[in-house]
């Protein structure tokens, strides 16, 4: 019984395992038809495989791609050190930043003292609660405090606290709406504005 193309191809590729490999070899020794067919398949393989892209042609592309990767990926990755980092700022940007800084500084010096005094008076009344970020501002706490706080509109106090980064929650205590016995807590969140 003769060999089919698939077995011959497998044998040609050196993929035939042992009991069959020897059998095929023996068969090819005496069967002219199979031997001829095998030579045809080998020739086909030689022609197809031989029509490959050649190493010389590949080399140019190999160098070019490597240069691209070196330049755009490998070298860039080296610049990770903080001190070695390239801090380049464009001149207009630098000037703008400097001008802004001076502007803020001058503004603070001119307008600062008055406002700052006000602020300083407010700060001692802001008592951080023992548990984290909750802060209570009580208008009834001490005579001086009430006086100070009274001199500020509520809106300004809220603005001040908001600027300081406090999430302000307002509660109205001890005021009972007319006609309603229940106390309704009024909540306001200036931060949401």
């Amino acid at each position: 019984m003769c060999l089919d193309d698939q077995i011959l191809n497998t044998y040609l590729d050196g993929e035939l395992t042992e009991p069959w490999k020897t059998q095929v070899e023996e068969h090819l020794n005496y069967c002219v038809a199979c031997k001829t067919r095998f030579e045809q398949l080998r020739s086909l393989h030689a022609v197809v495989s031989g029509s490959r892209l050649e190493d010389e042609t590949i080399a140019v592309h190999q160098n070019r791609v490597l240069q691209f990767i070196e330049k755009n990926y490998m070298e860039k990755r080296h610049k990770v050190g903080f001190l070695h980092r390239d801090f380049r700022v464009k001149t207009p940007m630098l000037l703008t930043a400097a001008a802004a800084f001076v502007f803020v500084l001058v503004g603070a010096l001119l307008l600062g003292p008055g406002k700052q005094a006000d602020a300083n008076e407010l700060i001692p009344r802001v008592l951080p609660a023992s548990e984290g970020s909750l802060v209570q501002v009580r208008a009834t706490e001490g005579l001086a405090a009430s006086q100070v706080l009274e001199s500020f509109p509520l809106e300004e106090i809220l603005k001040y606290l908001d600027a300081k980064g406090y999430a302000v929650e307002l509660r109205v205590k001890g005021i009972q709406p007319v006609g309603e016995a229940m106390m309704v807590p009024t909540e306001e969140s200036p931060a949401a504005e």
């Binding site: 193309d5 698939q6 393989h45 030689a46 197809v48 029509s51 490597l66 990767i69």
Partner: protein
């Protein structure tokens, strides 16, 4: 040798060894040098960027071949959709051939082989290209394509059968 794809030394080692194979795979799927170069570049950039550990150079090679093959096949799929790409590939200059005695296959035969490979169905083409141009065995091809070895065997056989029927053997010249 263990390979860390993002380490420059590992990368260069793999690149040196694997680039020709990967380029051949890309080329014999697309038959366009510029497109193949782009595909290889993309594959190696992915390799470098992904920072994968491979147990050996071969493992890295199989990974790169798989990525390249997929990129190349995607290009061909897109090619069939985009007319501009078709034109670009059709107008692609032929790869310069070596002249002289050591040229085993003449350019006419190469053209015939190219036309035959181009006509192969995608699945058979992938197997044939990996077999004939990447010099891989059935097991390696099976691993890369994630199919069984017997499936590879059958596809190699079918691909060659089609190739044979498309190639006029009288016009093939092997010196």
């Amino acid at each position: 040798m263990e390979i860390k794809s993002s380490e420059n030394e590992s990368f260069r080692h793999v690149y040196e060894e694997v680039f020709p194979v990967v380029m051949r795979v890309a080329y014999h799927v697309t038959y366009n040098m510029d497109v193949s170069e782009d595909i290889c570049q993309e594959a190696f950039i992915r390799f470098y960027e992904k920072n994968i550990d491979f147990r050996s150079v071969d493992e890295a090679k199989y990974w790169l071949i798989r990525v390249t093959k997929n990129l190349a096949i995607n290009v061909m799929k897109r090619k069939s959709r985009e007319q501009a790409m078709v034109e670009k590939i059709k107008k692609a200059p032929k790869v310069p051939m070596r002249n002289g005695e050591d040229a085993l296959i003449d350019s006419e035969t190469r053209t015939l082989v190219r036309e035959a490979v181009e006509k192969l169905p995608e699945k058979l083409k992938a197997v044939l290209v990996l077999k004939e141009y990447a010099d891989l065995n059935y097991k390696q091809i099976a691993g890369i394509l994630r199919i069984s070895e017997s499936n590879v065997k059958v596809r190699v056989h079918r691909a060659r059968k089609i190739m044979e029927s498309m190639l006029d053997r009288e016009e093939m010249h092997v010196s």
